[in-house]
Protein backbone atom coordinates (compact mmCIF):
# COMPACT_ATOMS: atom_id res chain seq x y z
CA UNK A 1 0.00 0.00 0.00
CA UNK A 2 1.90 3.01 -1.28
CA UNK A 3 1.17 6.43 0.09
CA UNK A 4 1.32 9.21 -2.48
CA UNK A 5 4.47 11.16 -1.71
CA UNK A 6 3.34 14.17 -3.73
CA UNK A 7 -0.07 15.80 -4.02
CA UNK A 8 -1.58 17.23 -7.21
CA UNK A 9 0.29 20.52 -6.70
CA UNK A 10 3.60 18.65 -6.31
CA UNK A 11 3.74 19.42 -2.60
CA UNK A 12 5.44 16.80 -0.45
CA UNK A 13 3.92 14.99 2.54
CA UNK A 14 5.51 17.38 5.02
CA UNK A 15 4.37 20.42 3.02
CA UNK A 16 7.69 21.10 1.29
CA UNK A 17 8.16 22.12 -2.32
CA UNK A 18 10.27 19.89 -4.59
CA UNK A 19 13.48 21.86 -4.11
CA UNK A 20 12.95 22.80 -0.48
CA UNK A 21 15.30 21.87 2.33
CA UNK A 22 13.94 20.79 5.70
CA UNK A 23 14.60 23.32 8.47
CA UNK A 24 18.28 23.09 9.42
CA UNK A 25 19.72 24.41 12.68
CA UNK A 26 23.35 24.16 13.72
CA UNK A 27 24.80 25.06 17.09
CA UNK A 28 28.55 25.15 17.69
CA UNK A 29 30.48 24.20 20.83
CA UNK A 30 27.79 22.18 22.57
CA UNK A 31 29.97 19.54 24.24
CA UNK A 32 32.19 20.99 26.97
CA UNK A 33 34.78 18.21 27.04
CA UNK A 34 35.36 18.05 23.30
CA UNK A 35 37.97 20.09 21.42
CA UNK A 36 35.26 20.97 18.97
CA UNK A 37 31.59 20.09 18.68
CA UNK A 38 28.34 20.83 16.94
CA UNK A 39 24.72 19.88 17.16
CA UNK A 40 22.63 19.74 14.02
CA UNK A 41 18.89 19.50 13.60
CA UNK A 42 18.07 18.57 10.04
CA UNK A 43 14.31 18.09 9.89
CA UNK A 44 13.69 15.56 12.66
CA UNK A 45 17.32 14.44 12.65
CA UNK A 46 19.09 15.38 15.86
CA UNK A 47 22.79 14.66 15.73
CA UNK A 48 25.73 15.58 17.96
CA UNK A 49 29.25 15.64 16.57
CA UNK A 50 32.38 15.94 18.68
CA UNK A 51 36.03 16.18 17.73
CA UNK A 52 38.90 15.11 19.94
CA UNK A 53 42.44 15.88 18.83
CA UNK A 54 44.89 16.26 17.32
CA UNK A 55 46.14 13.75 19.87
CA UNK A 56 48.50 10.82 20.18
CA UNK A 57 47.64 7.82 18.03
CA UNK A 58 46.35 4.65 19.65
CA UNK A 59 47.24 1.95 18.79
CA UNK A 60 50.68 3.33 18.02
CA UNK A 61 51.32 1.31 14.85
CA UNK A 62 48.64 3.30 13.04
CA UNK A 63 50.81 6.43 13.30
CA UNK A 64 51.70 8.12 10.00
CA UNK A 65 55.05 9.89 10.17
CA UNK A 66 54.04 12.71 7.84
CA UNK A 67 50.40 13.38 8.63
CA UNK A 68 47.43 12.83 10.89
CA UNK A 69 45.05 9.94 10.66
CA UNK A 70 41.32 10.50 10.94
CA UNK A 71 39.11 8.19 12.95
CA UNK A 72 35.43 8.49 12.37
CA UNK A 73 32.48 6.90 14.06
CA UNK A 74 28.88 7.40 12.98
CA UNK A 75 26.60 5.73 15.47
CA UNK A 76 22.85 5.62 16.05
CA UNK A 77 21.46 5.52 19.55
CA UNK A 78 18.96 2.71 20.20
CA UNK A 79 16.11 5.21 20.64
CA UNK A 80 16.84 7.12 17.42
CA UNK A 81 14.68 4.97 15.15
CA UNK A 82 11.02 3.87 14.92
CA UNK A 83 11.73 0.41 16.27
CA UNK A 84 14.58 0.15 18.74
CA UNK A 85 17.95 -0.13 17.09
CA UNK A 86 20.39 -2.68 18.42
CA UNK A 87 23.07 -0.55 20.12
CA UNK A 88 25.92 -2.60 18.69
CA UNK A 89 27.71 -1.35 15.62
CA UNK A 90 25.94 -2.42 12.41
CA UNK A 91 27.34 -3.00 8.94
CA UNK A 92 25.48 0.09 7.81
CA UNK A 93 27.20 2.19 10.48
CA UNK A 94 30.61 0.78 9.51
CA UNK A 95 30.02 1.75 5.89
CA UNK A 96 28.72 5.21 6.73
CA UNK A 97 31.62 5.86 9.11
CA UNK A 98 33.96 5.01 6.25
CA UNK A 99 32.34 7.25 3.64
CA UNK A 100 32.12 10.15 6.10
CA UNK A 101 35.78 9.74 7.02
CA UNK A 102 36.71 9.80 3.35
CA UNK A 103 34.49 12.84 2.86
CA UNK A 104 36.24 14.77 5.65
CA UNK A 105 39.84 13.76 4.91
CA UNK A 106 40.20 15.85 1.73
CA UNK A 107 39.13 18.94 3.70
CA UNK A 108 41.54 18.50 6.60
CA UNK A 109 45.16 19.60 6.10
CA UNK A 110 46.47 16.34 7.50
CA UNK A 111 50.13 17.22 6.83
CA UNK A 112 49.87 19.91 9.50
CA UNK A 113 49.51 17.25 12.19
CA UNK A 114 52.11 14.53 11.71
CA UNK A 115 52.02 11.54 14.09
CA UNK A 116 48.61 12.46 15.44
CA UNK A 117 45.03 11.31 15.24
CA UNK A 118 41.93 13.39 14.82
CA UNK A 119 38.86 11.66 16.15
CA UNK A 120 35.39 12.50 14.94
CA UNK A 121 32.38 11.04 16.71
CA UNK A 122 28.83 11.46 15.48
CA UNK A 123 25.90 10.29 17.56
CA UNK A 124 22.48 10.20 15.95
CA UNK A 125 20.01 10.91 18.75
CA UNK A 126 17.06 10.86 16.37
CA UNK A 127 17.11 9.86 12.74
CA UNK A 128 14.86 11.03 9.94
CA UNK A 129 16.47 10.15 6.62
CA UNK A 130 19.54 11.92 5.34
CA UNK A 131 21.30 11.41 8.65
CA UNK A 132 24.70 10.73 7.06
CA UNK A 133 24.64 14.08 5.26
CA UNK A 134 23.52 15.85 8.42
CA UNK A 135 26.19 14.06 10.47
CA UNK A 136 28.85 14.98 7.91
CA UNK A 137 27.79 18.64 7.97
CA UNK A 138 27.89 18.72 11.77
CA UNK A 139 31.25 16.92 11.88
CA UNK A 140 32.83 19.44 9.54
CA UNK A 141 31.62 22.32 11.73
CA UNK A 142 32.95 20.50 14.81
CA UNK A 143 36.36 20.18 13.11
CA UNK A 144 36.38 23.89 12.40
CA UNK A 145 35.33 24.54 16.01
CA UNK A 146 38.28 22.42 17.18
CA UNK A 147 40.56 24.77 15.28
CA UNK A 148 41.78 22.04 12.93
CA UNK A 149 43.38 23.47 9.78
CA UNK A 150 41.04 22.90 6.88
CA UNK A 151 40.86 23.69 3.18
CA UNK A 152 37.11 24.16 3.28
CA UNK A 153 34.05 23.07 5.20
CA UNK A 154 32.23 19.98 3.98
CA UNK A 155 28.50 20.37 3.46
CA UNK A 156 26.24 17.39 2.95
CA UNK A 157 22.77 17.09 1.48
CA UNK A 158 20.89 14.45 -0.47
CA UNK A 159 18.65 14.76 -3.49
CA UNK A 160 16.52 12.02 -4.94
CA UNK A 161 13.44 10.98 -6.82
CA UNK A 162 9.92 10.55 -5.45
CA UNK A 163 6.73 10.10 -7.45
CA UNK A 164 8.75 10.58 -10.64
CA UNK A 165 10.00 14.02 -9.58
CA UNK A 166 13.54 15.04 -8.66
CA UNK A 167 13.50 16.49 -5.15
CA UNK A 168 15.91 17.94 -2.64
CA UNK A 169 16.62 16.49 0.78
CA UNK A 170 14.85 13.13 1.06
CA UNK A 171 13.31 12.41 4.47
CA UNK A 172 12.68 9.04 6.09
CA UNK A 173 9.35 8.24 4.40
CA UNK A 174 10.56 9.50 1.04
CA UNK A 175 13.67 7.36 1.35
CA UNK A 176 11.65 4.21 2.06
CA UNK A 177 8.91 4.78 -0.50
CA UNK A 178 10.72 6.90 -3.06
CA UNK A 179 12.63 5.85 -6.16
CA UNK A 180 16.13 7.18 -5.56
CA UNK A 181 18.41 8.73 -2.95
CA UNK A 182 21.73 10.43 -3.73
CA UNK A 183 23.59 11.52 -0.58
CA UNK A 184 26.22 14.05 -1.61
CA UNK A 185 28.93 15.97 0.21
CA UNK A 186 31.00 18.80 -1.23
CA UNK A 187 33.67 21.32 -0.35
CA UNK A 188 31.54 24.32 -1.30
CA UNK A 189 34.19 27.00 -1.89
CA UNK A 190 36.40 24.65 -3.88
CA UNK A 191 33.53 23.05 -5.79
CA UNK A 192 34.68 19.47 -5.19
CA UNK A 193 32.74 16.31 -4.37
CA UNK A 194 33.95 14.40 -1.30
CA UNK A 195 30.97 12.16 -0.58
CA UNK A 196 28.76 10.49 -3.12
CA UNK A 197 26.42 7.56 -2.84
CA UNK A 198 23.42 6.50 -4.82
CA UNK A 199 20.69 3.96 -4.56
CA UNK A 200 17.55 3.87 -6.61
CA UNK A 201 16.70 4.27 -10.23
CA UNK A 202 17.70 7.29 -12.30
CA UNK A 203 17.93 7.80 -16.04
CA UNK A 204 21.01 9.55 -17.43
CA UNK A 205 19.31 12.95 -17.50
CA UNK A 206 17.77 12.41 -14.07
CA UNK A 207 21.21 11.53 -12.72
CA UNK A 208 22.59 14.90 -13.84
CA UNK A 209 19.57 16.80 -12.57
CA UNK A 210 19.61 15.06 -9.19
CA UNK A 211 23.33 15.69 -8.80
CA UNK A 212 22.95 19.40 -9.60
CA UNK A 213 20.11 19.68 -7.09
CA UNK A 214 22.11 17.89 -4.40
CA UNK A 215 25.02 20.29 -4.92
CA UNK A 216 22.54 23.14 -4.65
CA UNK A 217 21.26 21.76 -1.35
CA UNK A 218 24.83 21.46 -0.05
CA UNK A 219 25.35 25.16 -0.81
CA UNK A 220 22.28 25.98 1.30
CA UNK A 221 23.63 23.85 4.15
CA UNK A 222 27.01 25.59 3.78
CA UNK A 223 25.35 28.94 4.37
CA UNK A 224 23.88 27.63 7.64
CA UNK A 225 27.22 26.11 8.70
CA UNK A 226 28.94 29.44 8.16
CA UNK A 227 26.29 31.34 10.07
CA UNK A 228 26.60 28.92 13.00
CA UNK A 229 30.37 29.39 13.17
CA UNK A 230 30.03 33.17 12.80
CA UNK A 231 27.50 33.19 15.61
CA UNK A 232 29.83 31.45 17.97
CA UNK A 233 33.02 33.28 17.15
CA UNK A 234 31.82 36.75 16.21
CA UNK A 235 28.46 36.83 17.96
CA UNK A 236 26.71 37.57 14.69
CA UNK A 237 26.31 36.16 11.24
CA UNK A 238 27.68 37.88 8.20
CA UNK A 239 26.20 37.54 4.77
CA UNK A 240 28.24 35.20 2.57
CA UNK A 241 30.64 37.02 0.28
CA UNK A 242 30.59 35.66 -3.25
CA UNK A 243 34.07 36.80 -4.27
CA UNK A 244 37.32 37.24 -2.45
CA UNK A 245 38.55 40.73 -1.82
Amino acid sequence: MKTALLNADKIRLDGRKLDELRPVKIEVGVIKNADGSARIEFGKNKIMAAVYGPKEVHPKHLTKPDRAIVKCRYHMTPFSTDTRKNPSFSRREIEISKVIRQALEPAIILEDYPRSSIEVYMEVLQSDGGSRCAALSAASVALADAGINMRDLVAGCAAGKIGGEIVLDIDDTEDKEGEADMPTGIMPSLGLVTLFQLDGNLSASEFQKTFDLAVNGCMKVYQIQREALMNKYFGQSEPMQESNE
Binding site: R91, R92, I94, E95, S97, K98, V99, R101, Q102, E105, P106, A180, M182, M187, L190, G191, L192, V193, T194, L195, F196, Q197, L198, D199, G200, N201, L202, S203, A204, E206, F207, Q208, F211, V215
Partner: protein, 278 residues
Protein backbone atom coordinates in the same frame (compact mmCIF):
# COMPACT_ATOMS: atom_id res chain seq x y z
CA UNK B 1 54.60 -18.42 -13.60
CA UNK B 2 56.32 -16.50 -10.89
CA UNK B 3 54.21 -14.46 -8.58
CA UNK B 4 54.58 -10.73 -8.92
CA UNK B 5 54.26 -9.15 -5.54
CA UNK B 6 51.40 -6.68 -5.83
CA UNK B 7 52.24 -3.98 -3.38
CA UNK B 8 49.78 -1.91 -1.40
CA UNK B 9 52.64 0.49 -0.75
CA UNK B 10 53.97 1.57 -4.12
CA UNK B 11 57.64 2.42 -4.44
CA UNK B 12 58.78 5.89 -5.41
CA UNK B 13 60.18 4.68 -8.74
CA UNK B 14 56.93 2.90 -9.67
CA UNK B 15 55.01 6.01 -8.68
CA UNK B 16 56.97 8.28 -10.99
CA UNK B 17 56.79 5.69 -13.79
CA UNK B 18 53.03 5.52 -13.37
CA UNK B 19 52.79 9.29 -13.49
CA UNK B 20 54.90 9.44 -16.67
CA UNK B 21 52.72 6.84 -18.35
CA UNK B 22 49.45 8.46 -17.29
CA UNK B 23 50.53 11.76 -18.83
CA UNK B 24 51.01 9.84 -22.10
CA UNK B 25 47.56 8.29 -21.72
CA UNK B 26 48.98 4.87 -20.85
CA UNK B 27 49.17 2.69 -17.78
CA UNK B 28 51.96 0.60 -16.28
CA UNK B 29 50.33 -2.62 -17.47
CA UNK B 30 50.10 -1.25 -21.00
CA UNK B 31 46.40 -0.45 -20.95
CA UNK B 32 44.75 2.71 -22.21
CA UNK B 33 43.16 4.87 -19.53
CA UNK B 34 39.63 3.57 -20.07
CA UNK B 35 40.54 0.01 -21.04
CA UNK B 36 39.30 -2.88 -18.94
CA UNK B 37 41.44 -5.90 -18.15
CA UNK B 38 40.56 -9.29 -19.67
CA UNK B 39 37.30 -10.58 -18.30
CA UNK B 40 36.37 -14.23 -18.20
CA UNK B 41 33.40 -15.88 -16.61
CA UNK B 42 32.70 -19.50 -15.80
CA UNK B 43 29.21 -20.53 -14.81
CA UNK B 44 28.07 -23.20 -12.41
CA UNK B 45 31.45 -23.74 -10.78
CA UNK B 46 29.94 -24.81 -7.45
CA UNK B 47 27.49 -27.70 -7.87
CA UNK B 48 26.05 -27.31 -4.40
CA UNK B 49 25.08 -23.69 -4.93
CA UNK B 50 21.74 -22.72 -6.49
CA UNK B 51 23.75 -20.61 -8.90
CA UNK B 52 27.42 -19.71 -9.06
CA UNK B 53 30.07 -18.10 -11.18
CA UNK B 54 33.80 -17.55 -11.18
CA UNK B 55 34.97 -14.25 -12.59
CA UNK B 56 38.51 -13.38 -13.55
CA UNK B 57 39.17 -9.72 -14.19
CA UNK B 58 42.87 -9.48 -14.94
CA UNK B 59 44.47 -11.19 -11.95
CA UNK B 60 41.47 -10.65 -9.73
CA UNK B 61 39.50 -13.81 -9.13
CA UNK B 62 36.11 -13.96 -7.45
CA UNK B 63 33.56 -16.69 -6.91
CA UNK B 64 29.98 -15.75 -6.15
CA UNK B 65 27.59 -18.39 -4.92
CA UNK B 66 23.84 -17.97 -4.56
CA UNK B 67 21.81 -20.15 -2.27
CA UNK B 68 18.05 -19.95 -2.56
CA UNK B 69 16.31 -21.42 0.45
CA UNK B 70 12.94 -21.10 2.10
CA UNK B 71 12.49 -19.17 5.29
CA UNK B 72 10.38 -16.69 7.20
CA UNK B 73 9.97 -13.09 6.03
CA UNK B 74 11.14 -10.08 8.02
CA UNK B 75 8.24 -8.74 10.15
CA UNK B 76 8.22 -5.37 8.32
CA UNK B 77 8.06 -6.98 4.85
CA UNK B 78 5.74 -9.99 5.31
CA UNK B 79 4.99 -10.20 1.56
CA UNK B 80 8.56 -10.14 0.25
CA UNK B 81 11.39 -12.58 -0.14
CA UNK B 82 14.76 -11.87 1.44
CA UNK B 83 18.12 -10.94 0.03
CA UNK B 84 21.29 -11.23 2.07
CA UNK B 85 24.63 -10.34 0.53
CA UNK B 86 27.99 -10.91 2.15
CA UNK B 87 31.53 -10.51 0.87
CA UNK B 88 34.84 -11.76 2.14
CA UNK B 89 38.35 -11.07 0.98
CA UNK B 90 39.78 -14.45 1.93
CA UNK B 91 43.21 -14.67 3.54
CA UNK B 92 44.44 -16.55 0.44
CA UNK B 93 43.59 -13.50 -1.68
CA UNK B 94 46.62 -11.34 -0.97
CA UNK B 95 49.51 -10.78 1.38
CA UNK B 96 47.48 -8.03 3.00
CA UNK B 97 44.21 -9.86 3.53
CA UNK B 98 43.79 -11.14 7.06
CA UNK B 99 41.59 -13.83 8.53
CA UNK B 100 38.76 -12.71 10.75
CA UNK B 101 35.45 -10.94 10.41
CA UNK B 102 34.96 -8.74 7.31
CA UNK B 103 36.72 -5.38 7.60
CA UNK B 104 35.22 -2.10 6.42
CA UNK B 105 36.35 -2.68 2.81
CA UNK B 106 34.62 -6.06 2.67
CA UNK B 107 31.50 -4.64 4.29
CA UNK B 108 31.45 -1.80 1.77
CA UNK B 109 31.86 -4.33 -1.05
CA UNK B 110 28.91 -6.36 0.24
CA UNK B 111 26.70 -3.34 0.78
CA UNK B 112 27.36 -1.77 -2.62
CA UNK B 113 26.77 -5.18 -4.27
CA UNK B 114 23.54 -5.49 -2.29
CA UNK B 115 22.34 -2.08 -3.47
CA UNK B 116 23.00 -3.04 -7.10
CA UNK B 117 20.77 -6.11 -6.85
CA UNK B 118 18.09 -4.58 -4.65
CA UNK B 119 17.69 -1.16 -6.26
CA UNK B 120 17.79 -2.38 -9.85
CA UNK B 121 14.78 -4.61 -9.22
CA UNK B 122 16.86 -7.52 -10.50
CA UNK B 123 14.78 -9.81 -8.30
CA UNK B 124 11.06 -9.33 -7.88
CA UNK B 125 10.80 -9.84 -4.15
CA UNK B 126 7.00 -9.98 -4.16
CA UNK B 127 7.25 -13.03 -6.46
CA UNK B 128 9.58 -14.62 -3.91
CA UNK B 129 6.74 -14.74 -1.38
CA UNK B 130 5.19 -18.17 -0.87
CA UNK B 131 2.66 -17.42 1.88
CA UNK B 132 2.30 -13.94 3.30
CA UNK B 133 3.89 -13.56 6.71
CA UNK B 134 4.78 -17.25 6.80
CA UNK B 135 6.98 -18.54 4.02
CA UNK B 136 9.24 -16.75 1.57
CA UNK B 137 12.33 -17.53 -0.49
CA UNK B 138 15.59 -16.27 1.00
CA UNK B 139 18.25 -15.45 -1.54
CA UNK B 140 21.76 -15.54 -0.10
CA UNK B 141 24.54 -14.19 -2.27
CA UNK B 142 28.02 -14.77 -0.92
CA UNK B 143 31.03 -13.31 -2.61
CA UNK B 144 34.46 -14.83 -2.02
CA UNK B 145 37.51 -12.98 -3.27
CA UNK B 146 40.17 -15.61 -4.10
CA UNK B 147 42.83 -13.31 -5.53
CA UNK B 148 42.72 -9.57 -5.07
CA UNK B 149 44.16 -7.39 -7.77
CA UNK B 150 41.65 -4.58 -7.47
CA UNK B 151 38.37 -3.93 -9.23
CA UNK B 152 36.47 -5.92 -6.63
CA UNK B 153 33.20 -3.97 -6.95
CA UNK B 154 33.10 -4.63 -10.69
CA UNK B 155 34.22 -8.25 -10.61
CA UNK B 156 31.77 -8.97 -7.76
CA UNK B 157 28.90 -7.46 -9.71
CA UNK B 158 29.70 -9.59 -12.77
CA UNK B 159 29.95 -12.71 -10.62
CA UNK B 160 26.69 -11.95 -8.82
CA UNK B 161 24.79 -11.18 -12.02
CA UNK B 162 26.08 -14.40 -13.59
CA UNK B 163 25.31 -16.49 -10.51
CA UNK B 164 21.77 -15.16 -10.03
CA UNK B 165 20.93 -15.35 -13.75
CA UNK B 166 21.71 -19.06 -13.73
CA UNK B 167 20.29 -19.78 -10.26
CA UNK B 168 17.34 -22.01 -9.48
CA UNK B 169 14.92 -22.10 -6.58
CA UNK B 170 13.32 -25.18 -5.06
CA UNK B 171 9.65 -25.69 -5.92
CA UNK B 172 7.33 -25.66 -2.95
CA UNK B 173 3.84 -26.67 -2.01
CA UNK B 174 1.71 -25.63 0.94
CA UNK B 175 0.36 -28.55 2.97
CA UNK B 176 -3.18 -28.40 4.38
CA UNK B 177 -1.89 -27.57 7.84
CA UNK B 178 -0.05 -24.57 6.39
CA UNK B 179 3.37 -26.13 6.59
CA UNK B 180 5.69 -25.95 3.62
CA UNK B 181 6.66 -28.93 1.49
CA UNK B 182 9.95 -28.26 -0.30
CA UNK B 183 10.28 -30.35 -3.41
CA UNK B 184 13.45 -31.70 -4.99
CA UNK B 185 12.75 -30.15 -8.38
CA UNK B 186 13.55 -26.57 -9.14
CA UNK B 187 12.52 -23.62 -11.28
CA UNK B 188 14.64 -20.79 -12.63
CA UNK B 189 15.10 -17.79 -10.42
CA UNK B 190 13.55 -15.07 -12.53
CA UNK B 191 16.00 -12.23 -13.14
CA UNK B 192 14.62 -8.95 -14.50
CA UNK B 193 17.69 -6.88 -15.26
CA UNK B 194 21.47 -7.08 -15.11
CA UNK B 195 23.03 -4.44 -12.82
CA UNK B 196 26.64 -3.86 -13.92
CA UNK B 197 29.20 -1.99 -11.84
CA UNK B 198 31.94 0.15 -13.34
CA UNK B 199 34.71 1.59 -11.17
CA UNK B 200 36.94 4.51 -12.00
CA UNK B 201 39.96 5.82 -10.15
CA UNK B 202 41.52 9.24 -10.26
CA UNK B 203 45.32 9.12 -10.23
CA UNK B 204 47.39 12.27 -10.68
CA UNK B 205 44.24 13.97 -11.89
CA UNK B 206 43.69 11.37 -14.64
CA UNK B 207 40.70 9.07 -14.70
CA UNK B 208 41.28 5.38 -15.30
CA UNK B 209 38.72 2.59 -15.64
CA UNK B 210 39.10 -0.74 -13.81
CA UNK B 211 42.06 0.11 -11.51
CA UNK B 212 44.25 -2.74 -10.28
CA UNK B 213 45.71 -2.98 -6.77
CA UNK B 214 48.74 -0.89 -7.57
CA UNK B 215 46.62 1.83 -9.12
CA UNK B 216 44.21 1.71 -6.21
CA UNK B 217 47.12 2.24 -3.84
CA UNK B 218 48.02 5.37 -5.80
CA UNK B 219 44.55 6.73 -6.42
CA UNK B 220 43.20 9.90 -4.90
CA UNK B 221 39.58 8.88 -5.23
CA UNK B 222 37.39 6.17 -6.64
CA UNK B 223 33.88 6.20 -8.08
CA UNK B 224 31.70 3.16 -8.67
CA UNK B 225 28.48 3.51 -10.64
CA UNK B 226 26.04 0.68 -11.31
CA UNK B 227 23.66 0.73 -14.28
CA UNK B 228 20.82 -1.67 -15.10
CA UNK B 229 19.81 -3.15 -18.48
CA UNK B 230 17.90 0.03 -19.39
CA UNK B 231 20.96 2.14 -18.72
CA UNK B 232 19.49 3.55 -15.52
CA UNK B 233 21.74 4.36 -12.58
CA UNK B 234 20.84 2.12 -9.67
CA UNK B 235 23.76 2.46 -7.25
CA UNK B 236 26.83 4.56 -6.69
CA UNK B 237 29.66 4.94 -4.24
CA UNK B 238 32.56 7.31 -3.99
CA UNK B 239 35.60 6.01 -2.15
CA UNK B 240 39.10 7.10 -1.33
CA UNK B 241 40.26 10.20 0.47
CA UNK B 242 40.22 12.48 -2.55
CA UNK B 243 37.72 14.46 -4.56
CA UNK B 244 35.96 14.67 -7.91
CA UNK B 245 34.91 17.84 -9.68
CA UNK B 246 31.25 18.27 -10.63
CA UNK B 247 32.18 17.86 -14.30
CA UNK B 248 34.09 14.65 -13.61
CA UNK B 249 31.04 13.20 -11.85
CA UNK B 250 28.84 13.83 -14.87
CA UNK B 251 31.43 12.64 -17.36
CA UNK B 252 31.93 9.42 -15.40
CA UNK B 253 28.18 8.82 -15.39
CA UNK B 254 28.21 9.03 -19.16
CA UNK B 255 31.18 6.67 -19.54
CA UNK B 256 29.76 4.25 -16.97
CA UNK B 257 26.50 3.87 -18.90
CA UNK B 258 28.45 3.29 -22.13
CA UNK B 259 30.79 0.69 -20.70
CA UNK B 260 27.90 -0.94 -18.88
CA UNK B 261 26.26 -1.75 -22.21
CA UNK B 262 29.37 -3.53 -23.57
CA UNK B 263 30.07 -5.48 -20.42
CA UNK B 264 26.41 -6.44 -19.99
CA UNK B 265 26.32 -7.76 -23.54
CA UNK B 266 29.42 -9.91 -22.94
CA UNK B 267 27.91 -11.32 -19.74
CA UNK B 268 24.52 -11.83 -21.40
CA UNK B 269 26.23 -13.83 -24.18
CA UNK B 270 28.03 -16.01 -21.65
CA UNK B 271 24.82 -16.69 -19.77
CA UNK B 272 22.81 -17.41 -22.93
CA UNK B 273 25.46 -19.71 -24.36
CA UNK B 274 26.12 -21.30 -21.01
CA UNK B 275 29.66 -21.23 -22.33
CA UNK B 276 32.81 -21.09 -20.31
CA UNK B 277 34.45 -17.91 -21.45
CA UNK B 278 33.65 -14.52 -22.81
Amino acid sequence: MSAVRKAVVVGTLRKSQMKEQLVKGKRLDGRDLLQQRNLSIELGVIEKASGSARVRLGDTEIVAGAKVETGRPFPDTPDQGLLIVTAEVLPIASAYAEPGPPNEEAIELARVSDRGIRESGMLDFSKLMIKKGEHVYSVFVDVAVLNDDGGLFDAASYAIVSALSTATRPNTELAEDGSLIVSDDTSDLDVKTLPIATTFAKIHGKIVFDPNTEEQAMMEARLTLVTDSEGKFVAGQKGGSGVFTYDEMKELARISAERGIEIRKAIRDTIDNGSQKT
